[in-house]
Structure formats: C-alpha cells, structure tokens
Symmetry: C2
Subunit: 213 residues, 2 copies
C-alpha cells in the first residue's frame, strides 16, 4: 500500500514462509532454486554456536554466538525454535524474521518437520508448506541413490519419513516435489495468493471507506 | 491423483471459484481474459426464463427454462442462487457446478456481490474472490467514462459500490483490477495455491500411509 487512496497487490507487511518436509525430499534444492528465481525473497539466517568456517559471514550465513549468548537468547524467548546438533546449538532468531516482515519483505525458512512445528507455536501467522516426494518409493530411491546410508539406516529413515509425512495435517499447504521448477512455481503461486488474502486488505479498506469523498 | 502410489498436484475434485465485485469494476473483462489464457477452466452456465437470442445455444450460453420449470428448480433447491431482473429469472444450477467439480474440473462463476453471498451460503467450500478497483476515484472514472449514467445515477452507483466493498470481509481473497492481465495472473495463482491446500491431500495420504510397503 503505497498511498492512502488505493492498493497495490502487496501489503505493507511481508509473509513468513516455512518450507519443511521429510529428510531426503529435496528442501535444500527447492530453496536454492527459489532463491535464484525470486530475487525479493529473504532467507532466514540462523543463529549458531558453531565456529565460522572459511568464507562464512556474520549475518549472511549465520549469526555466530557464544554458548552463553545462545542460552540467554533461549531464556529471553528470542528464538522461534532451536535444537542441539553434534554439540552445537542452532536456532531461528525472532528479531530477524520480525524486522524483515515489518520492512514489507517476504522471508523463507527451510527447516525440518519438528522445527517447523515449534515455529508454528510461536508464529502461527506464518504460511507452512510441506514438501512431499512424488511417492514413498521415490523417496526411498533418492535416499538409496545418495549412497551414504546402510540398509538399516535406510529402513529407519523411511520409517521416520512416514511419521513425518503424517504431520502434514499441521501445515497449510502440500507441495509435491516432482520437478524442482514446478515446486518453485507452486511456492510462488502460494506466496502470490497469500498476498491476496482478504485479511490483508480489511484494515486499509476500512480507512479508505471512512475517508471523506 | 492418478495412481494409488503417488500424487499429482491436482486433486480428484475441481474447485469452484466465485468472482465478484462492485458494478463497474471489470468482472466481465477479467473473466473473458481468463477464459482466453486458461483453457481448462469451465464457465458456469446460468439458467434463465428469458428467450434465447439469435445464436445462443442451450447449455452453452444458458439453460433455457420456462417460468414453471424455473420455479420448480427453486422449490427443489436446485439453484445455488437466483434473482429476478426486468421480468426474467436468472439462476445458477447446482447440478452443473457439482458434475463439473466431480469430473475434476475447476469452474468459475462471475456474479454480482449479493448473488455471491447467496452462493456462499449453499456452497461454502467455494473460493470467493472479490475484485477491487485500484481506488474509488478510479471506479468513479470508469463509470463516468461509460457515459450511460446521469450525475445522480453515478452518485447512487458509487454509494452502492461503497456498500458492496464493505462486504469484502465475507470473501476469501481480494484482487485489485489495476491491469487485466495482472488480475488474471493473481486468479491463476489463487487457483494453483488452492489446489495445494493440505486438506486436499490428507485423504489420499492416509490411504497411502496405510499401504503395506
């Protein structure tokens, strides 16, 4: 909304998209492709206690924190979710998300299924998208093709995937990752549609209808 | 969903889109443009008691009914909405909408604001889109440019438009008709996003997860 007298189809406030799905479904690939074709989408930057690797920049790749700083962020409820992984903490700073949205920009967060549900508790106004494999067979094939897992590990990953897929009910949208470019198109369509939701227009409309004419 | 083992991104059942908005906003123009660029969208065919004009075909332009037939359709609740206009009845046959959706096709109904709200009562699972002018000034300009109305009539049309715009709250989406091709793109995005709603995938998913693997 750039003037009092009309609308543009983009509202003042951005939208948080949370992209999730089972391990192996291709979240990272879809997210990278989306980054290339959607220039005005901001990617959520995580906070972490792990050390920066060569070339990693503060505020671009991660917000690097000491363990004390991280624990104090948890304490002050400054993280939308957090988890410990191989001795390090990782989390999503609320403030970065909030200030991006307030600046009218959309932001995307790519995260595993449990983390997404934690975000939903703290930020229910987000748009939660679940990435599905074309079929369970296809998902198994993708995990096998990676070649990093033993047969037992594959079976256990597949069981985890089934449990995760059952959590789809907590999400808003389901997107099939049959082809990366189609998955991207669907996410872009969802973003465009969400910007057209009537809720975004009611406050402006109210002001507009009250104006003397 | 064409096989038991996977998804396509289009569900078995079509979606009813109801496109509405104040008089003068350009519903007809947007609908015609949409018809040209979306080949697989079916347009709702109305029933009417008025006589066919030259070239009009039964089941294509209208379903032509006698007054007795029309009144009996009302009686049997076979119309999603109906209205009388200049001595003739017009209405939306429920059966045509239902059979199109059951065949997996999307259907669009272009209708004025009060009619759309009646449809919503009988068919709440539809997707209700409200077409907005870029501004009230712009709407007034469009009505003036048509040149068919006196100053009094214009004032009364504008008051009606204000009252109609206030009904936006009963709709799902608001689309600004700043440029016809942009309005079309937004409607197509909404249609694509609605097909990705998780509700459409839960039943298939359930069946799929119960399969022995």
């Amino acid at each position: 909304m750039t003037n009092n007298n009309g609308w543009t189809q983009k509202s003042d406030k951005g939208i948080l998209i949370v992209l999730s799905g089972p391990s192996g479904v291709g979240k990272g690939t879809v997210c990278s492709a989306l980054r290339q074709c959607t220039s005005d989408l901001v990617y959520s930057v995580s906070a972490t206690t792990r050390s920066p690797r060569a070339g990693e920049q503060e505020g671009v790749n991660y917000f690097f924190k000491s363990k004390e700083q991280f624990l104090s962020m948890i304490e002050r409820d400054e993280l939308l979710e957090w988890a410990e992984y191989v001795g390090n903490y990782y989390g999503t700073p609320r403030e970065f998300v909030r200030s991006t949205l307030d600046a009218g920009k959309d932001i995307i967060l790519e995260i595993e299924v449990q983390g997404a549900l934690k975000v939903k508790q703290k930020f229910p106004e987000g748009v939660f998208i679940f990435l599905l494999p074309p079929s369970l067979d296809e998902l198994e094939q993708r995990i096998v093709t990676r070649g990093t897992d033993s047969m037992d590990a594959i079976r256990s990953r597949m069981n985890a995937a089934r449990e995760e897929i059952a959590l789809l009910e907590h999400y808003d949208y389901a997107i099939v990752n049959d082809r990366v470019e189609l998955a991207c198109q669907r996410i872009q369509a969802i973003l465009e549609a969400e910007h057209c939701k009537k809720e975004r227009y009611l406050p402006v409309l109210q002001k507009w209808l009250e104006e003397v004419h």
